[in-house]
């Protein structure tokens, strides 16, 4: 197992390295002059030169790359041209916002998607199943931006049930002291229930927007893998031996269906880690997705690069975690031989 873990980490390192290389060179192709961005519109050629010098932009690309990698290894992803701040710090400040949203969205998706998927599988080909599938198709065909907009229109402008799209808390509310970075958790830890509630109300619409979309693949995968296990010979055996329906459904059926479901949740969560750019933009969510978008708009290479690398890293870490979860769920999988769904 350790050798597997070692190999896995090695592969991860290779992948991260690949990400760094690809991103770095893609970024060099981006049109626009980073120095000009930094210098502002009044800069003379000399000033530009001075800035290029200062930021190492006049070095040959390979040198820039080596320097970049050297710093990146030390955890320094460079300086944002847009804000003048350290990219690593800025990303770390924004990451909790994205993660909190991702967490609740995935949680919602799982809480909604898993039961629906199980019921659909258990009542296959009935109207319940059809309805579940239509919901799943609707979810996977949903445009984030439109759903977010319509939810805001309905629940904020029209009904006023939820706060408007202004971020994680009301403008006038002091955020809780940072412990985990999750406002809901930090507020709870501080015993400030009102604040926690407020954080939840601000989370509600974006989390529902994302959660609805994410529930679709979960419904689909839970349903299909449940159907597969329910059709399996061991479920038939359990039935033949008189195991009660519920236990068959959950112990024999769902437990074995969990593997593809875990993969799905993992992939989904991985995708969400990157922050959902559109949703963060619509709901003014101060996460990494919005940061990346703003960086992209102004050619802020280092910030964008940092973002992509952090997302890649998180994704890979997540994959390793999923591997462990697998081996816990399925004894057939000695780490390394993943049964891919």
């Amino acid at each position: 197992m350790w050798s597997y873990l070692g190999r896995r980490l090695l592969v991860s390192v290779v992948t991260v390295a690949g990400i760094v290389v690809v991103v770095f060179f893609i970024m060099r192709i981006l049109p626009g002059d980073a120095a000009a961005v930094r210098a502002g519109p009044y800069a003379s050629e000399e000033k530009l030169e001075q800035i290029r010098e200062q930021f190492g932009l006049s070095d040959p690309v390979p040198t820039q790359f080596v320097n970049y990698v050297r710093d990146a290894v030390r955890g320094d992803l460079g300086t944002s041209i847009r804000t003048g701040g350290k990219v690593t710090e800025e990303l770390l400040i924004r990451l909790p916002a994205s993660l909190e949203l991702a967490f609740y969205a995935v949680l919602l998706a799982v809480l909604a998607g898993v039961p629906v998927g199980i019921v659909a599988a258990a009542r296959r080909d009935t109207w319940i199943d059809r309805a579940a599938r239509v919901v799943a198709v609707l979810g996977s065909s949903m445009a984030f931006f439109w759903l977010g907009l319509m939810l805001t229109f309905l629940f904020f402008f029209r009904l006023g049930w939820f706060p408007g799209p202004v971020g994680r808390l009301a403008i006038t509310t002091e955020p809780p002291e940072t412990i985990t970075g999750f406002f809901t958790v930090d507020a709870a830890l501080a015993g400030n229930w009102a604040l926690m509630w407020e954080a939840f109300t601000y989370l509600a619409l974006p989390a529902v927007t994302v959660g609805f979309v994410l529930s679709a693949p979960i419904i689909k995968i839970v349903r299909s893998s449940m159907i597969e296990t329910l059709d399996s010979e061991y479920v038939r055996t359990a039935r033949a031996l008189g195991v009660p329906h519920r236990e068959v459904l959950f112990r024999d059926g769902f437990r074995n269906a969990l593997i593809p479901v875990t993969t799905a949740i993992g992939i989904i969560f991985g995708y969400m880690l990157g922050g959902n750019i559109i949703v963060e933009l619509i709901f003014a969510w101060p996460g990494v997705g919005r940061y990346a978008y703003e960086a992209l708009r102004v050619n802020d290479l280092e910030a964008l690069q940092g973002f992509v690398i952090v997302v890649g890293l998180l994704y890979i870490v997540l994959n390793v975690v999923i591997d462990f979860v697998y081996s816990w769920i399925d004894p057939r999988i000695k780490l390394g031989q993943r049964v891919v769904a």
């Binding site: 010979e233 061991y234 055996t237 033949a240 031996l241 437990r255 004894p331």
Partner: protein
């Protein structure tokens, strides 16, 4: 006396005229091994699943009766067999696939004990180890802690049998229990089944497509083709005195030289009348009807117009 009697079982695909089993009857007496034999797709497994009340979605039971010691198990309102008090257990063809991959085998057996007798967790566990020992598994305690994928096919089949025995069945249905196993292992399993029959007095419905296995294991035999019973009788009747053209054909194709250039018709069968009709060398107009099973000897019955209408046939040809 008969323990299990199946009569007039008709099973079909939902919303389609097709019947997978047409009026199938047989019985399994206590302490006997009854063979159910037929080609692939002839409905052997379906018959077993019907009796267990485990028909898959999309397959419906249309008519018939399943009686245990004269007690009707078939709920005519819902057209399902209620297995609750049936005392039947079943083992399957692919033992490894039939065990829950994420559960230790000991637990899987213990679960059955808990269900059957309400035994406590640890008690059920020790009973399950005992049961593993009884089906001849060396190092039963260790094996009980293993997951199915860590066991060989033969071992898994023993575990399956142990699970089935944990139900204390009066009828054991064995659906091709050894086709996935090697001959030497098959011999072990056959011995085990025979021993169990002797020991527990349970009746066994032994499903297979292998005539030789039937000849070796069974006391009596029912031959199925296309969901219809072709012939039934004691082992001697079927192997020494086959009366139905299909049985003869089957025995011949295993034992005798055949013409390689006759294009075989696959497993197709007729929808109307005798299902063997179009492959039968003796077929004639009458075969458009479904022939009844008629007694052709003591406890030996065959479903062919040849027996009932010798004269007509002579006239026709």
């Amino acid at each position: 006396m008969s323990t299990l009697e199946v009569e007039g079982l008709t099973v079909g695909v939902t919303r389609s005229p097709t019947s997978i089993l047409a009026d199938v009857s047989f019985s399994v007496p206590a302490g006997k091994i009854v063979g159910l034999v037929g080609e692939s797709g002839s409905g052997k497994t379906m018959a077993a699943l019907t009796m267990m009340g485990l028909l898959p979605d999309g397959i419906e039971l249309r008519s018939g009766s399943v009686r245990m010691d004269g007690r009707q198990l078939l709920d005519p309102a819902r057209m399902t067999v209620s297995r609750e008090s049936a005392d039947m257990a079943m083992i399957f063809q692919h033992p490894q696939a039939a065990l829950n991959p994420t559960m230790k085998v000991g637990r899987q057996i213990a679960r059955v004990f808990s269900l059957q007798q309400g035994a406590g967790r640890s008690e059920a566990m020790s009973q399950s180890i005992e049961m593993l020992r009884r089906v001849g598994i060396p190092g039963a305690a260790r094996v009980a802690g293993a997951h199915p994928h860590q066991l060989s096919g033969g071992m898994c089949q023993r575990v399956m049998i142990a699970m089935a025995l944990a139900c204390r069945p009066r009828i054991l249905i064995a659906d091709e229990p050894t086709t996935a196993l090697d001959v030497t292992i098959q011999a072990q399993i056959f011995d085990l089944i025979r021993d169990l029959v002797a020991e527990t007095g349970a009746g066994v419905l032994f499903i297979t497509h292998d005539l030789a296995a039937v000849a070796e294991m069974c006391d009596s035999v029912t031959v199925l083709f296309g969901g219809q019973v072709m012939e039934e009788g004691s082992r001697d009747d079927i192997f020494r005195r086959p009366r139905h053209p299909y049985t003869t054909y089957l025995l011949d194709s295993v034992q005798k030289e055949v013409d390689p250039h006759v294009v075989e018709a696959g497993v197709d069968f007729e929808l109307v009348g005798c299902r063997f009709g179009h492959r039968c060398d003796y077929a004639w107009e009458a075969c458009g009807e479904v022939p009844d099973l008629v007694a052709v000897g003591e406890g030996h019955r065959s479903a062919c117009f040849l027996h009932t209408a010798e004269v007509t046939r002579a006239g026709a040809s």
